[in-house]
Point group: C2
Chain length 344, copies 2
């Protein structure tokens, strides 16, 4: 039997996440309604899953792998190996072995998801380190920016950042961005700026077969000027979380200011629905999760706190990352960039 | 003649900054009006300075060092050595040699200011690396958080971060914060989180004579939970600039949303003054600049784009940093923390 990409199934962990299993199941239903071509392998408690998919009328598009075992955030990530019946382990094994599945999505333990992807699914040949990367909103409502890596790799060497750049570039092309503008996260835009890592990385990115636009400053991260931001996982994590904290600072201060007067309270009522819309667009629910690129098949880590809407977006993200030939493209692109040490 | 701290003068670079010399002079006048105890050494063109301070009635509190030479942002920072008549070099030499001055403030080239502070004023004995640190607003309108370092030191060793922590702690105490809560910028709050640098730094901070509250995540940077955030200059720079970018993202999106409808436009008018107030509180003008701590006397780097209000705040920052015995306190605190390698 031959499967084409339309028929390939997304594997969904129903047991991972703060709001599992119900938010996860509701997310599947939402995703299924939005895209009638999507098929699923649902991993979790059949007793809970079955009535839900029957009721939603999507049972024919769902396969169930029954388990009641999960991995908590407090367990060592490598438990993914010692607990083969956990939902993450079962999902990773299915992703590795089956030809009819395209991607895996989980809102469970980040560590276990990344460990499972590397240890059980394996890396794309040539990729030194897979990278965890979310799409972030920008000033341009029609453009998102990919930040790679945001926490899978704490201490990086220049060649890791080169691979992040190549993978990010291929990923953005795969979701329709033409000639993605790839930039190196730095403390200034001048070529010579930065620390030892960025100084050594700059020439590698300049020589790579990508549209490298140079160093960038974090204040322009969300300007829409860039499509891919390359950094080590420590810096990427600080970048993402600072943005979260700063956005919270502004919105809470605005709320407090508006509530502090009668006239402004009235004004606050009049802009309420617009504020809600903006919050939905800028909030983490809008993207749903981060893709772990560099594993043989894409793995999506949804936020632990995902609600049904956020999780449905994460499922769509996994589906989109899995339906093309991203892994082959990455393998070819990495092969083209022979590391300097091996040049003849 | 004996000077007490009230009489000590703040040295002000009138030639540095995008809006020099007029915004700088206006900033001096504002600062002088706010604090009748403040005295100044103004470095710049006497022909421009004299009429201004006469008109403002502050001539008796001002001394002028005349020069028309400055260092641009495009020059190598070490030009501070080869241009002894530049305003930054003259200011640094006065700071080093004179007993009647307490601090120096400039909106000129960051590189030249930092180089001048290290090369001409010199470090406090025992301090491995001075740190550049701004005070940032938090969710609590009455609390600010210090981030050290935000760009003076790109590649740091654990003992550099230890010194940042000690200096940040003494600085916050000097401006009235009791028992400052010092945290290490990291990717999670657990003790074992992080990269090689933070892992090696954690035990040093734990053993130091400070109120070390552990690792923190950047999303809580502005929560008001911490008083001092310790990180290397690359990470600190990303943190500060990401915050700037994210705040811009939110406020521009809000503006666009509000303008997109009639009702919300009306609401926008009603909240306009409150938004302006919030912008003034959260914007960079509210603090005015970053203190470079670890030089023998404090040096304040004001934003290059400073207007008069921002620059007057930077002058106040310098005055406050310089009026106590911060340098002595730092020297003593550093001396108390013998590095592990030298322990007996």
């Amino acid at each position: 039997m031959v499967y084409n990409y339309i028929m390939k199934k997304v594997i969904v962990d129903i047991l991972g996440g703060d709001n599992a299993p119900h938010a996860m199941l509701d997310g599947v239903v939402l995703a299924a309604r939005k895209d009638p071509d999507m098929h699923f392998v649902l991993i979790g408690d059949e007793v809970i899953i079955r009535p839900k998919i029957d009721e939603a009328g999507i049972a024919l598009r769902c396969e169930i792998i029954h388990t009641m075992e999960s991995i908590s955030n407090n367990e060592p990530p490598t438990n993914v190996k010692s607990k083969p019946n956990s939902s993450i382990a079962l999902g990773m094994m299915a992703l590795r072995k089956r030809d009819d599945v395209s991607a895996f999505v989980s809102a469970g333990s980040t560590g276990a998801v990344l460990a499972g992807a590397v240890l059980m699914v394996g890396r794309i040949p040539g990729v030194s380190r897979p990278g965890l990367c979310p799409l972030f909103p920008t000033l341009d409502p029609n453009k998102k920016v990919l930040v790679i890596d945001i926490g899978a790799n704490m201490d990086c060497r220049p060649e890791h950042l080169l691979h992040f750049a190549i993978m990010g570039n291929e990923y953005m092309k795969s979701i329709g961005v033409e000639n993605p503008r790839v930039a190196l996260v730095n403390v200034g835009t001048e070529d010579k700026k930065g620390n030892e890592l960025t100084s050594a990385t700059f020439p590698l990115l300049k020589d790579a077969d990508i549209n490298f636009v140079g160093n960038m400053e974090a204040k322009d991260a969300f300007s829409g000027k860039y499509d891919v931001l390359v950094c080590d996982g420590f810096v990427g994590n600080v970048l993402l979380k600072t943005a979260e904290g700063a956005m919270k600072l502004v919105s809470q201060r605005i709320k407090a200011e508006i509530k502090s007067g009668f006239i402004s309270s009235l004004g606050g009522l009049l802009i309420k629905s617009k504020m809600k819309k903006m919050k939905a667009e800028l909030g983490e629910d809008s993207v749903g999760g981060s893709v772990f690129i560099g594993a043989k098949k894409p793995v999506v880590k949804a936020h632990g706190s995902s609600n049904a809407v956020a999780f449905s977006n994460a499922i769509a993200l996994a589906h989109n990352a899995g339906k093309g030939d991203l892994s082959e493209k990455i393998e070819q692109a990495i092969a083209r960039c022979t590391p300097p040490a091996n040049e003849e």
